[in-house]
Symmetry: C2
Subunit: 456 residues, 2 copies
């Protein structure tokens, strides 16, 4: 059922249009240009050809040939085209069209629901952005690439109730170099809802961590059942909107969902070992860590830095977040002291000093990866100093490859710094713009990890 | 005294070098290329010409001609060159050279101090990055522009005890488009210290807000006296490192300062109406707001958004940070309802809906600026939607120009979004990457504002 949606062999765009400003045009263009390898059928009764493809008057002409329909016709026509899709044997649908229960037209949405159920069409929507899959290239986001960049393929599965937040975050994720397995914006959830997608991504091999923007959950009990199972295998990170009374009221005028009390939700999340966060930035700070790094087996953290002040801030943040400063073994420390110049501070924070070259990073990282007293490593690299060259990226990648401990990188700066952060990020090493973000991430990873160990 | 440092008519680089990898070369090159308009004298007894400039053997040859010396010679020669500078009538010095008390050579530093005091040379350093002034172009940061971008001229005065944090943050500030009045990294504070610079920036007309990275303060009483005076005129934002016991220990091995207890510092900051923050990002989130925006006169905040979910998150964040959702007058709301299509939610959050064009932003912003029930405005602009074009930047700038309330912009996305955020930022409108950052900023602005009103 989900295969028809995420990995269809053929897709029909119902409401395909010649007019570049129309949604039905943008979707068709993105399927063609985005590299979707299956068959693409534009459907429109009034046109013969769009973007070089033959246009069909109805999906009924393609009986048995279409796995997925993407629907972008006016709301009142949706029941009819879904009936035709059902008769044509279509198994999956993504209905972009809005104008249903969210503006009071509950009857029209019910009619669509009856047809979907009758023909057993697994449906995303109505009133949604739909799906982006970076591998199969199913892409119903009706926005040009310059407005909405598409992220690289990776392990983050992203489920969002809000289309606007979804697209803003996806765009940002692409720029930052994060890897996404599936993006799902499901709108009114006329058929498939957050629980269905959670279950699906829980089983999806490409997805290593699931992130969710939630305004409310309809089937609380089912949600908990599924979440508990999923979090034993992979982490779920949630941001819950509408936590305050006023926020909840805003939720109601947004999607009509019942937000429920913040305390109840937080208690539920805790019970299911779902990681709850407060901001979109935290959501992805965690997602990219879970996607790429091994879980910490303890909370003893070694700081390595070429800026003393950053080391101090990092030590403060670790203690304030209930983590610990690792104490490396005397043997390893003595070895380091022999190799380093005398002004390097072999302690925790390990201050490689502003004149550090990349060789010092290599020695320090190797030692921390080897030392049994270290559970996690935070490496601060300030690229402004003379001794730091691009080679530091390779040294960090090498350390990461042989490490069974999480290594989180922190850098802060301008274009030169950002270029190197991106190099790490697309190679699967999360790079954070401040020590506080890295430390908060590590703390939540540890929380997830320790609870899960208890459960197994 | 400070004039010789920040606005010298002439500068001598003692230790100027032909060797591009040397600090004394980088500093000279940056004075020449950076656009410093006064006279530049390289000093080096072994060379005749560097970068096309005549080289002098000693600053003594230039008696009466030099306002400022920048010193980048080995530590043991510093006393001698400072003596020569004193004899030549130099009034200001920036001593970059390290290798004094921070590595145990207290005697050598004391000797330098005696000479400075004897000749009354106002001195920044020793062991520091020194100064960057974007107007006078005094620039002793011995790093090429590609490693460390220089920010535009603006109202943020930045005092930092840590050179590494200083340069990382300056580089980042440049990329983000923040405006800086003075950057001061003062190292060991052999002569001038944080209190002196605080007093100076307090009086400096170009500086609208002072941000400080502090590890410790030596003269507590004087610091408080000065800070209390300054915060009546302009805000001070501080990040204090070494707040935990372990962090404090790290501070000692970093600059040897006594960090002191976090509680004591926080109490002192509160008493002086200094805004304390926890992260570097917060430091500059506040700095650019204070630099550019009027202070809020109350806490009633209007949210305007084209993404419903962002509106909900923003409402949550406002309530959680003790701010209030504004209730616009019925008259103004009714006017808006007449002009907007029926699906726009004229409330708080005001949801202009995903199909919003920039005209809707203009109407909503004008109304919120006009309405007496609104003290502050948060505008969420998601650039991913079809209706939002670059013109929205002009609409926000227009609203900001006529508003006596702070307007904070929030956007999230990729390159297209970032381009527009930067357009706003360099025009003096702070643009934040998440609602939580904007709300926290507004909350601290309100705190500063309300305490100051009480004091006057």
């Amino acid at each position: 059922m989900f295969k028809a949606i995420f990995e269809p062999k053929s897709v029909a765009i119902i409401g395909a249009s010649r007019e570049p400003s129309k949604i039905g045009h943008a979707i068709l263009a993105n399927f063609i240009d985005g590299g979707f390898e299956g068959d693409i059928y534009p459907i429109n009764p009034n046109v013969d050809e769009i973007l070089g493809l033959k246009v069909y008057k109805s999906v009924k002409e393609l009986k048995g040939k279409v796995d997925l329909v993407v629907v972008a016709v006016p709301a009142q026509i949706v029941p009819q085209v879904m009936k035709e899709a059902g008769e044509a044997g279509v198994k999956g649908a993504i209905i972009i069209t809005g104008g249903f229960s969210e503006i009071g037209k509950k009857d029209l949405e019910n009619e669509v629901e009856r047809i979907i159920k009758k023909y057993e069409i697994a449906t995303v929507g109505v009133n949604c952005l739909g799906i982006f899959d970076p591998v199969s290239r199913v892409d119903t986001l009706f926005l040009p690439y310059y407005k909405l960049e598409r992220p690289r393929s990776g392990g983050i599965g992203f489920i969002t109730q809000s289309g606007a937040i979804g697209s803003a975050v996806l765009d940002w994720a692409a720029k930052e170099g994060f890897g996404v397995s599936k993006f799902i914006s499901y709108g009114n959830a006329t058929d498939l809802d957050e629980v269905d997608f959670l279950e699906y991504l829980g089983k999806d091999k490409k997805t290593k961590v699931i992130v969710m923007y939630l305004e409310g959950v309809k089937k609380g009990k089912k949600f908990m059942e599924v979440a508990k199972k999923v979090t034993k295998k992979k982490p779920i990170v949630v941001i819950k909107a509408g936590k305050t009374e006023k926020g909840a009221r805003a939720v109601q005028s947004h999607t009509g969902a019942l937000a429920g009390s913040a305390e109840v939700y937080s208690a539920v999340f805790k019970q299911c070992n779902i990681v709850e966060v407060e901001t979109i930035e935290e959501l992805f700070d965690l997602a990219r860590a879970f996607d790429n790094l091994p879980l910490p087996k303890g909370k003893r953290t070694q700081i390595i830095t070429n800026g003393g002040g950053m080391g101090v801030l990092c030590a403060d943040a670790l203690i304030e977040n209930n983590l610990e400063l690792a104490e490396m073994s005397d043997e390893i420390k003595n070895k380091l002291k022999e190799k380093f110049p005398p002004h390097v501070v072999v302690s925790n924070p390990m201050d490689l000093i502003g004149d550090a070259d990349i060789g010092r990073y290599e020695l320090a990282l190797d030692a921390a990866v080897e030392d049994k007293n270290v559970d996690a490593i935070i490496v601060v690299v300030l690229y402004q100093t003379v001794g730091i060259q691009s080679g530091v990226v390779d040294i960090i990648l090498k350390a990461t490859n042989k490490s069974d401990k999480p290594i989180l990188v922190v850098s802060s700066g301008g274009a030169y710094t950002e270029t190197h952060m991106r190099m790490l990020e697309v190679s699967g090493v999360p790079a954070y713009s401040s020590v506080s973000r890295a430390v908060k991430t590590l703390e939540k990873m540890w929380e997830y990890s320790v609870k899960n160990v208890g459960k197994e």
